[in-house]
Amino acid sequence: MAGESNIRTALSNPAGWQSLLSFSILALAYLAAFSSRLFAVIRFESIIHEFDPWFNYRSTHHLVNYGFYNFLNWFDERAWYPLGRIVGGTVYPGLMVTAGTIHWLLNSLHITVHIRDVCVFLAPTFSGLTSIATYLLTKELWSQGAGLLAACFIAIVPGYISRSVAGSYDNEGIAIFALLFTYFLWVKSVKTGSIFWAGCTALAYFYMVSAWGGYVYIINLIPLHVFVLLLMGRFSYRIFVAYCAFFILGLLLSMQVPFVGFQPIRTSEHMASAGVFALLIAYGFLKYLHTHLSSLTKSEMRSLFFFAVAASAAAVLMAVVYLTYAGYVAPWSGRFYSLYDTGYAKIHIPIIASVSEHQPTTWVSFFFDLHVLVCTFPAGVWFCIKKINDERVFIVLYAISASYFAGVMVRLMLTLTPVVCILSAIAFSNVLERYLVDDTPKVHHIEDESEDDEEGDKRNKSKDLYDKVTKTAGKVRKIRHEPSGEPESLGGNVKTIVVMAVMMILMMFAVHCTWVTSNAYSSPSVVLASYNHDGSRNILDDFREAYYWLRQNTDDHSRVMSWWDYGYQIAGMANRTTLVDNNTWNNSHIALVGKAMSSNETRAYEIMKALDVDYVLVIFGGVIGYSGDDINKFLWMVRIAEGEHPKEIREGDYFTPQGEFRVDKAGSKTLLNCLMYKLCYYRFGEMQLDFRTPPGFDRTRNVEIGNKDISFQHLEEAYTTEHWLVRIYKVKKQDNRVRLDHTVRKTDIKPKTKFTSRKSGKRKRGFIKNKLLIKKGKRPSSKNKKPSRKSSSKK
């Protein structure tokens, strides 16, 4: 803290003091947002996480090496063999371009950074920017104090950290910043009604479109806002100007992104914005007529106006419906439709239903990701509705729609998180600003001084960064709202108690966030860690071991078959051609791989030959007890294969008659002999992990495997990593001579005795000296004597 004299001079200029405080709080929030996302980097290393980020990294690498235009025209022949993928036209390039720009900027300043480090730290950097954008938005909506509180909340809330830790180099990392910044600019343009701000909104929207498919949410929420404002009778020319400018510019800009192309005018998801635009134009036109037709009476005018607006709304709706039916506008795509009809994906699109982040959300995960915010943000909604104005309508609509979407899909928790932070910041600040005010009648000067001393004490005492920020955030409000004409004071004690309790709860929140970030969201999932009893750590680096083996030991053009989850990692780390990957655009190709995995070896070999497969890679967690392995995912492979090949693959065959999925002896024969089972458990039956368990004991499923006698005919084991997590098999070339897979048929017919002439039979056939002769018809008791007699006689 500065000295006494400094405070006094600063106090003479409260505005400067206030901006200094808010600046330092924002800087601290930025720092907190950045540093709380670094757990994974500190514990492991600067590495790209999970699956999708590997693709983004690979394409960023391509962009940096070959330039922007080559990136846009990039045809990737290493994915989706033999189809290939037009990468430039099927990605949202915003992320790669952002990272590439930062890399270029740093390098041109002679700060040489590897592109991987730029990618790893991009998400934390942008989370800091997100917290600033949140501050700006909340400040427009409510007040500066609430804005600071919201910035602190979003900096550390787990719902957002989950997708933006260092190394999680994905679209969402920058998209949430773009989303909030667009919303801030939109609110600003609604407030001012200036074309400048609307143009800025369109630019921010363009950035969002280039970054994430979730831009559809913006282009539906903003028209909804305008529509509701019209319904509420809050039409004004500010809204008219803001929306028309934003819509036209945004439409034109969004069509510049190659992946989006003509979608904004050809699909149903965008039709709401066009419809609202038409309606707004009609409304504005009628308003204009209104000023010229003053001959009518007022009531006539009102009814005429009402019916004209209703008619134009109906006409717009009919036009959209007609265009959809006539085929000019594509109907809702499955992914969006499944948000409305929640059972849709489960029946029709197993590949969407199979992804865990597309599951509905339990209340536990809401609480886990938002903690105290989830039960206080409804209070913020309440305050906003109570003091409604044009822009608060927007935030209320945002809250309601986002909470619906987050309920349907865990993944969309990400869009709910910012609004929850904003609204609970409003709720907390609204409460705190009443209780933090020291409104005991005092001389003005002394009052302020005492407050600042108190604040200084708090700063010194508090060790928790976030907590400090929230406290000071409350203070800023107080300075603006000088108590004047307020109701009688509640008394210092009650206020202190309330403030203390609220601070306790906020402190709990900060602690919770740190715990969740550290424990749940900071694992790279490429590198696994296990902890011993004494707390020491084992790093299981099997994935990279296997991918580097592939990179070093296989032909550059060899093709690796694996389940689609690992496609991006194989392409990114091993640099080998894959058949399917995480961009699940071709369901039938995935189903073919699923069919190969779930057929027996002979059938699978035919498919693998048809697809030119050289290596097969499976993930097997039975040795270390890793639950996300291929056997646990296997039923989805069967289901997806069944969807395309219902004749050959039947899900029921992989269950026991009791309807259980078991890998032990009781499991179904089809399962125990399918390719996936054999690849995972090959020679596993010889391995005894523990003295207490039998050989071939699977630790993930806690059973002894049912088929220990596995041998391959068309494949051979190529590599198995240290903990057996990744197993790679080589597919043999076809034999020169096709060996029969069965032994030659044996018959009971004895070879015919050779023809012998009767004349010289004995001589020709040869004879044995001293051969025992048996004479028939004699009793066996005499048999013993006879030969002896005979032999003796011959002698």
Binding site: W363, P378, A379, F383, S403, P487, M504, G652, P657
Partner: protein, 335 residues
């Protein structure tokens, strides 16, 4: 004695041959068989044109489904629809089955190769005993030739009895593809229409006094209801359909809170709604008392009550969360 047996067997053989010769001359037999088959098919067609699912009793079952000359498949539903049986599952299964049967009956590929039939337990208990069944509902397929095999019993436990999965199973067993056509469910749209007309009517009736539309409290309560419903996982309940609560069969103890963080009971979500609402209410109360003008003592009490509500219900929520999320270390006020 051996001789005696030999003679007897010869006699039996002879008599059988004789019997066959006299009674069942081969040509006649085939013709009669065809006749019987034709009659049966005709009869079945007649029935199924009346109603897509043929109701059968024990005799009909033996004659048309069990007896040998058949060139048609029968999908049989064994069920117990009488009200006194109290089988709600049967009713749902029956509805789905009717949908499949109707789709088949009115599909362009309708033929006499496949029939749908049902046997009610109260009309043909003997059928259940001959098929060795002791549970209803169950679906069986009787192929045109031979006896039902393992896969000919529909696995309700695993696949459920949605019309689509029944149709898929039929497709597997008989190679007859049935495109399930559900009669469009108008109840939703009718309810929506009714709601809108009701609202419209109310608005029209009160057209002189539309002030209530500007009532922020009711709009606020509506918005909060949606938010509470969504954040407490009602959508999860809607999609997954969990039980209301779990009763332990051994001890008779009722659990309202699911033990794992991956699932929840309906009762649990209701509790969570209440807790969320209480915390929100406490926050609003804290704010309202601070700005209201009134007796200071009263306001102090209300403030403390509001604070108590926030702290208590939040810590309750936290403790429930802790009990579900194993390994979570923190708690507040309540363990």
């Amino acid at each position: 004695m051996a001789d005696c047996r030999k003679i007897f067997s010869t006699f039996v053989c002879l008599s059988v041959v004789f019997f066959l010769l006299v009674v069942d001359s081969p040509a006649l037999g085939v013709k009669k068989k065809e006749n019987a088959l034709g009659d049966k098919v005709q009869q079945l067609m007649e029935w199924s044109s009346k109603r897509p699912v043929i109701r059968m009793n024990g005799d009909k079952f033996r004659q048309y489904v069990r007896a040998a000359p058949r060139n048609y498949s029968v999908i049989l539903m064994l069920t117990a629809l009488q009200p006194q049986r109290q089988c709600t599952v049967c009713r749902q299964a029956n509805d789905e089955f009717q949908i499949v049967a109707n789709s088949w009956r009115y599909s362009p590929s309708f033929s006499n190769k496949l029939f749908f039939a049902s046997v009610d337990y109260d009309e043909g208990a003997d059928v259940f005993s001959t098929l060795k069944l002791n549970s209803a509902p169950s679906f069986m397929h009787f192929p045109g030739k031979g006896k039902p095999k393992k896969g000919d019993t529909f696995d309700i436990q695993r696949t459920g009895f949605a019309a689509e999965s029944i149709a898929k199973w039929i497709n597997e067993r008989t190679d007859v593809h049935i495109r399930v056509f559900r009669p469009p469910n108008y109840s939703g749209s009718i309810a929506l229409g009714l709601l809108f007309t009701l609202i419209g009517g109310l608005l029209y009736l009160r057209r002189n006094n539309l002030e209530f539309l500007y009532n922020k409290t009711s709009w606020g309560i509506g918005a909060l209801c949606i938010v509470f419903a969504m954040t407490s996982g009602q959508m999860w309940n809607h999609i997954r359909g969990p039980p209301y609560a779990h009763k332990n069969p051994q001890t008779g103890q009722v659990h309202y809170i699911h033990g794992s963080s991956q699932a929840q009971f309906i009762a649990e979500t209701h509790i969570v709604i209440l807790l969320h609402a209480a915390v929100t209410f406490g926050m609003v109360l804290l704010h309202e008392t601070a700005v209201s003008k009134g007796d200071v003592g009263k306001r102090r009490i209300v403030t403390l009550v509001g604070l108590g509500i926030v702290a208590f219900f939040f810590s309750l929520l936290l403790s429930i969360f802790k009990s579900k999320y194993h390994g979570y270390p923190y708690s507040f006020l309540i363990k």
